[in-house]
Structure formats: C-alpha cells, structure tokens
Amino acid sequence: MKVELFKDFTIADYHKWLREEKISLPELIEAFLERIKSIDPDLHAFLEINQQAALTEADILVKGDSFDKELAPLWGIPIAIKDNICVQGLPTTCGSRILRNYRSPYNATVIERLKEAGAIIIGKTNMDEFAMGSSTENSAFGPTRNPFDLERVAGGSSGGSAASVAALEVPISLGSDTGGSIRQPASFCGVVGLRPTYGRVSRYGLVSFASSLDQIGPIARSVDDCTRVFEIISGKDEQDSTCAPYPPFSRNDIPTEEEIRKLKIGLPREYFSGEVEKGVLELIEQSIDLLRKNNLETIEVRLPHTDYALEAYYIVSPCEASSNLARYDGVLYGFREKEGEDLESMYLSSRTRGFGEEVKRRIILGTYCLSSGYYDEYYLKGMKVRTLVRHDFEQVFEECDLLLTPVSPCLPFNLGEKTKDFYQMYLTDIFTIPSAMAGLPALSMNCGYCDHLPVGLQIIGPPFREELILGLAGFLEKRLSLTPPFPNFHQ
C-alpha cells in the first residue's frame, strides 16, 4: 500500500479504514516504514527508525484489541518523536555528538501517555543540536531538508518532526518549542504545530535547553489531528514541578463556529512591519480578510516590548542552557574522550569535541551573562524585560481574544544561507519568541504558498486557552480549504 492514499487522511480516517479492515495495522505501519525508507535518504528527517519495535507494537495492539469496542484515541497511529524526548531503549541524541551513543533508560511522560493511547513510536527525528537553531542545520548528523524544496531548510529546531509530517513519512509527530522551534518549522513545512501554554504539557523526559521556556507540542497535518494529540499529552504531572495543576485539554471545550465568529482578533502592529517579506505578508492579510468576511472583528493592538523580547530571550535561554548542558561532562553517560590522564582534560576534550559550534557559542554567552559581576547587567535585566513582555500580552488580552501574526518574517531559506551570520538566524524567531517568553500558547498553520513555498500564520492566545486557538485554526483551515501537503520531490 502507498501512503499517497492517505494524503488527506486524519486520525479519524485511519481508524475508519482499520475498523473496516480496508487495511490491517501491520500493513499501515509497513506503508509508512516503506515511505521513510524511500524518501528519507533525501530528506533526512529521521535520526533513528524504530522499525522492528514498531511492527512488534502493531502486532501486540492487534492481538490485544478487538475492533468492536472503541479504539484507544491514537490506536495504531504512527508518530515520530523529536530526538530530545526520551523514549526508553531508543537513542536520545538531541542532534549532538556528545549523546551519539546514548539510549534513554526511561520514557518521557508524554511517551507514556502516547503509548497508553495506542500510538506507535516510529522513530526519532532530526533537530538542531540541543534545539539551538532555526534550520536544523546545527544537527551533528547533517541537516534536514525542506520537502517543498530540497535546497532549502526545513526550519528548526524541530525540523525533522515538521518535515516528516509534511512529507507524510508519518501522520503526526512531537516537537519541542523554546523560542519557536515547533511553529517556525511547521510554518516552513506547511503543517500545523502547537506550542502549548508553558506548563500545560509535562517536560519530564524532554531534554532541557532552557527550562523556563521549553514546551513539548504536537505537529500534524490538520488542526483536528493536532487537537487529538494535544488532548493525550496535556495535563498535570507529579514528576514535573513546572507542570500546571490544570486538567488536560479537552476537544469538547472547542467553541462552536457561532462562538468563533464572536471572537475579537488582535493584530499587533509590531508584527506587521517592513521586516516581513512581502509574499508572507500578503498571504497573512488574505487570511485576515477571510476572517473579516466571516464577520470576525479585527483590531490593531500594540505590544510595545516586542522589539526587546529577542534580546531578553538571548540572555535568558543561554543562561539556562549553560547550566542545563553542564551535565554532559563525560562522567556517567554519553561521549567521553580522554586526551591526557587527568580529570580536567577529560572534561575539556569530551565537551569541546562533543558539542557543536552554536551550542558552544550559547554556553559561552550564558556562562558570561551569569558570571560574577554580570548577573545584574544581563541575567536579571533579561528577566525584568520578560516581565514587561508578559505585561504587554496581559494588557492586549483585555482588548481582544486572540492574536493573529506571521510565524516567520521570511520564507524557508536556502541551506547555508544564514549559517554564516548567526545573528541573522536568531532574527528569524522574532515573532515566535515574545509569546514563548510570556509562556503563552501559540499555533502555526499553513495559510498558502508563495513561490511554491508554504507560509505559516500564527495564532497566539491567553494562558490555557488552547481551545480558542484550535477553534479559530480549525475555522480558518476549513475556509482556506488547503489540502494537507504532499510535496512530490521524489519520483
């Protein structure tokens, strides 16, 4: 069976087919494995394919369940997992040489929940090393390419998760978002990606980059699928202190179309500036018009500290990262190299050879900003600016229900285009960073194509109001009537 058949499928469709025995579960899994085998050498979305275990899992599911009762919510659905989320027995490299041979001895909370819901882990996806980057070019194992144009980047850091879903190597995946790492690659690959409210999904088992910003979220080919995965992974967790004491998200909370028409959509002026590529801006404005035609009210709003959020982010996240990455020292796990006989040389050579350039740059930057005499000047200042950014959003959400903005100021760029100037790369996240700094939920979805390249729009909501975001996203998806991507780069 060819996956072309499934290109417009949602999870509900797969379940229908399975139930009607139009396809068996092992056949379905085989079809995806086949697809991966055939196209991934070009795409390089995967770092590890869990072939045998996925098939075994499928057998177990088939033997264990009968079709006459209700299937588990993600029964038999293959899912790809970003390689910074721990799956017991599988590698968790975080795209880094320093963890090249590391296999996690435990499951992340989200993995436990996915397995309970019947999902089948099909592999681990490529990413920028330790999620530091916006193009997946910082992977120690080579970049992931954009399925719409193999010479372009897939975005990052969850580039592998987004590209694999866009190319239908897998119908759904998990990514992680620190400053835009789910939303930007989702935008570049024309799929749906949700960054939940900070604390809505457990981080237990997500390898920390910047703990106060990291969130796991789903990437999918439709808003509905995104919703279904989110429903499974959300909810409090006793193993994560930062996980909010909030009930899991429920699809039943999604507003009706009638209610959606009553929403007031804010358009922050700072996000529609000259920095945005014209083609991107045009498509976003088309979507806004579409909403207006459907009687939604839009208002211009101001988020005056937007311009400062990026700088604050590049203080806060390297500070936390420099400490979070101290554990990779060659002592207990991962890469160890001994140049001399002494401990110091083991530390130095393991870390110096284990980490890539961008990671080292951020470790140095973070260590500097925390070091004696600079804490107040940088770290503390960054945290204060973060407060101002939060206040901006709090005030804006008094005036409107949701915000609509571009995801990225630019279209997917060419491989190597921004690697020379790392600050240019940092700037690609200017529209995803502020909401992350405020801990807010935000979604990226395709709103059309410019020169055959997908363009994403972003919906940002108040804390724990994912149902509004997903509601509006579904409303738009229906009216934009864009089919899920199926880039045909491989003949």
């Binding site: 996690s104 237990y204 106060s212 420099s322 400490s323 554990r327 002592v331 004696s372 804490y375």
Partner: protein, 482 residues
C-alpha cells in the same frame, strides 16, 4: 596569644532524616549499600529528568530554622550552584542562595558558667553530592570511582555569624547544634558517619575592631577534631602575625593524623558558582498554617530541659548536662523516674553503671536490652534492701546481656541478701576474731575501722549480706567487747 581576638563562625551541614531523597523517590539509607543501587534518572541527572521537592525535606528544613529561632522567609526558592565535579552529575547543586528558608536566628548554650547566644545567619536546604572512592574494589590504577547513592540526600546547612571566640566555645556551640537537631528529630547528627559535617571560618586579629583574614577550615570529622583543628589554626595564625607575616584568605584542610591544617587550593582564583534561580523548580509560597503546623512539633530543647531537670529533680548542673546531651538518655531517665522517684540515685546509676555497660557493648541507649522500667525495678530492689548495690551492679551487667528482669536473675542465681541474723552473726564473729587490730581501733574511737569490718563481712558473703543488718550486728558485738 592573649593579645589576639579570635573570631570563629561555623557552617554545619546535617543530613535530614527523610525516607527518600530531596528531589526524587530513591531511598536515603545508603550506608553499607552496594554502589549505585539507590539511584534513578533524577538523582543521576540523566537527560530529561526533572526534580520534584520532597515535602518532608521541606518540613524538616523549616523545623530546623524554627528551632534555631529564625525568621522564615515567605517563599522557598532554590538556586543552582554551578561547578564541575564527578560527584555532581548535573554539573550544579540545587541549593539556596539569597533567599534561604530561615534567617536571623540564634542558638544559646552554657559555656563556662555563662549563657552564650550565637547568632544564626541562615538556615537553608540543599542536596548532597555523591561519594568518591579512591582505592580498593579493584579500581584501575590512576582512577577514582563514583558512587551516586548519597547523591541527592537532603541536607540542611546552618551558618552562624562569627560570634565565637575560642575553639572551646566553638566546640560547645557545635555540640548544642548537634543536640538541637537531634532533639527535634531532623537529623541523627552523627559526625563520625558524616551525617553532620562542620566547616569553620577562623580569623585572629590584634584588635577587636578589625576582623583578621578569614581562613576556612574543612575536613573535621569529629568534635575532637573540630577542637584540635581550630586550636591549631588559631595558633598558626597568631604565630604568623607575631612574625610579622601576612595571612591569605584561603581554604585549609585538617589533617587528623598529622594534627595540622594544610592549604587546599593555593592562590588559584575563587570559584564562580554563577548562582541563579533553578528554572526547574517553581517557588513555593509558605502558608502560615503550614508553618504553625510544623512548629507545633518542636519538643523541649536541650537547654530548657536541662533547666527543668535541675529545678524539678534537683540534679546538679553537670549531671543534668550530661543527661540532656543525648535526648534518648534523658528520655530514658525520665521514663525510669516515673517508677523510681529518686532522681539523684537514678541519675548516678545512669551516668555510671548504665553508661559503662553501654560503652562496653558499643551501643547507645536506644539499642539497650534494658528498659527504663527494668532499671527502675532494679533500683527499687536495692532500695528495699533485697539486694546490695554491689550485687546490683553484677545483676545490671547481666540484664544488659540477657535482657532479663532483675528479679528473674536474682532468683535464678539464688542471689539475694542474706538477712538471716543467725547466719550473719556467725560471719561477724569470724571477722571480729580475725581482725583484733581493727576492733581495737574502733574501740579507741576510729570510726573508719567500722567500715573496714563491714566490708570484710560483705567480702566473706560475696556481697550478699544485707549491709544494714551487718552493721547492727557488728555494733552490738563491738559494744559487748567494750
């Protein structure tokens, strides 16, 4: 020497008596366990793992701060202390920094007849590191081993202000700190086993207005070594100043075997720990009701108890002091007192015979086979004249080994006091005949000779004679000799 002002501050780490570690659910009873068996992703710092604070560790840390009269800060915030060391798997220690659990406390103790009050600067909670092993277990040459069983065990760190002015005073303060943590049950405070660790800051100065150069002394593993190390360090510093040399701010290690302190780090640059709030642990707001609930558990503290024992039971200060040093000893005393209300006698027995037996067995009172009730029964038997004190000592010894009641031992061995006057008269006659000189001495007014004669009778009867009756018979007999 007398021209110098000594200033000492203590930094004490106590292991908290929790069942599980500070941020994970691994057990804390690592003593004697195979290496790396009490571990999990969290305490090993595996990628992706996250800490969750143990509620009991929080309670015990708060309790410690409360018992030391600290002001409790309204929010509990943990910071990361960043440094690389193989026993620290995350590359940072979760500790507290500018917002400790408690600040501005004080501890009181009696020293040379005065009530001293030392200010407590701060009390904070933190996790312990793993243990390094340097030899044995077939370690390859040129290598060390790491065992993470201890890693993540909750500690409370108590920092005093530099209010101590002699090694003796510092030792007394430390003893009181140890007693307090034991009294409130937050730690077993055992220095030898490392559940209580003490570092000290020492400085000497020719003038009380100006503090001298602060030297940190580490690696002191007993109260004795704290005292010796501080004594040594004070002398060393005075000597240097006398020679006109200057002191460095440095860390020095106490070398127990050689009895000296050695510079640890030389003049290398100070560590930069880059403290910042741990983003994995949200601050906890402490409710008043929660704090009150914890405080309610504070039992009587050693100093108060000592005073009470002195007033209620008329114990001398010295003895009361020894009793309260060890909460379990004082508990035992008060328990026995319920059934044998002669505090002075009981106290004497406790501090001599009971302690002697415990020492010989190398156990502490909680492990004793003799209960307070059993001790009380033994003392009642002496009191009623059923056995002599000498006999009782032997009986107690046996009680300690067998755990049997005094009465049982006495009846089984057939030992009880010979009160039969006929029998005793016989022995008394023999003794009087054998010791004419002593009889003469007594008759010439030497009272001491009577005690000698009584002793001889006791000796003949192997201590089984009732000394009161022996005395009566002897006096009668001697009166007839006159």
């Amino acid at each position: 020497m007398d021209n110098y002002y000594v200033t000492i501050g203590l930094e004490v780490h106590c292991q908290l008596l929790t069942t599980t570690k500070m941020f994970c659910r691994c057990k804390t009873d690592y003593f004697g366990k195979a290496p790396n068996t009490l571990v999990c992703p969290v305490c090993l710092g595996l990628p992706g793992s996250l800490p969750v604070l143990n509620e009991q560790a929080l309670r015990l840390a708060i309790l410690t701060a409360q018992a030391l009269n600290c002001r409790i800060l309204p929010r509990v915030v943990f910071h990361r202390k960043n440094y690389f060391y193989p026993d620290l798997p995350k590359g940072y220690q979760i500790s507290q920094y500018d917002l400790p659990i408690g600040v501005e406390g004080k501890i009181e103790f009696d020293f040379k007849g005065n009530r001293e009050a030392v200010r407590i600067k701060r009390v904070h909670a933190e996790e312990d590191a793993g243990k390094l092993v340097h030899e044995g277990l077939n370690l390859p040459f040129g290598c060390s081993g790491v065992d993470f069983n201890r890693c993540g065990i909750p500690l409370v760190e108590i920092v005093t202000e530099p209010d101590l002015h002699s090694p003796e005073e510092a030792r007394e303060c430390l003893v009181m700190l140890r007693n307090v943590v034991r009294y409130i049950g937050v730690s077993d405070g055992n220095m030898e086993e490392g559940s209580l660790r003490c570092d000290a800051n020492v400085s000497v100065s020719p003038s009380p207005e100006k503090m001298g150069t602060k030297v940190e002394v580490k690696n002191m593993n007993s109260f004795r070594s704290v005292f010796r190390a501080l004594r040594y360090e004070v002398d060393r510093q005075v000597e240097l100043l006398e020679k006109g040399e200057s002191l460095y701010q440095e860390t020095r290690h106490w070398d127990e075997a050689r009895g000296i302190t050695l510079s640890a780090r030389g003049k290398e640059e100070a560590e930069d720990y880059r403290y910042f709030p741990d983003p994995d642990l949200l601050p906890i707001t402490l409710e008043d009701s929660f704090l009150k609930e914890i405080k309610a558990a504070i039992s009587e503290l050693p100093l108060t108890r000592k005073e009470r024992l002195m007033i209620e039971h008329e114990l001398p200060e010295n003895e009361a002091n020894i009793l309260v040093q060890d909460k379990t000893l004082a508990d035992f005393f008060e328990e026995a007192l319920k059934e044998f209300n002669q505090p002075r006698l009981l106290c004497n027995w406790m501090l001599t015979e009971v302690l002697k037996n415990l020492n010989e067995a190398g156990i502490d009172i909680t492990e004793s086979k003799v209960s307070p009730q059993q001790l009380a029964e033994l003392l009642r038997m002496i009191d009623k004249g059923e056995i002599s004190g000498t006999i009782a000592k032997g009986v107690l010894e046996e009680m300690f080994t067998t755990g049997l009641d005094a009465r049982e031992i006495v009846s089984k061995k057939g030992i009880s006091l010979i009160s039969n006057e006929k029998e005793l008269e016989k022995v008394v006659l023999e003794v009087v005949e054998k010791n004419p000189q002593s009889v003469a001495d007594y008759l010439s007014g030497k009272e001491k000779a009577l005690h000698f004669l009584i002793g001889q009778v006791m000796k003949e009867t192997k201590g089984q004679a009732n000394p009161e009756i022996v005395k009566d018979i002897l006096l009668k007999k001697l009166a007839s000799e006159e």
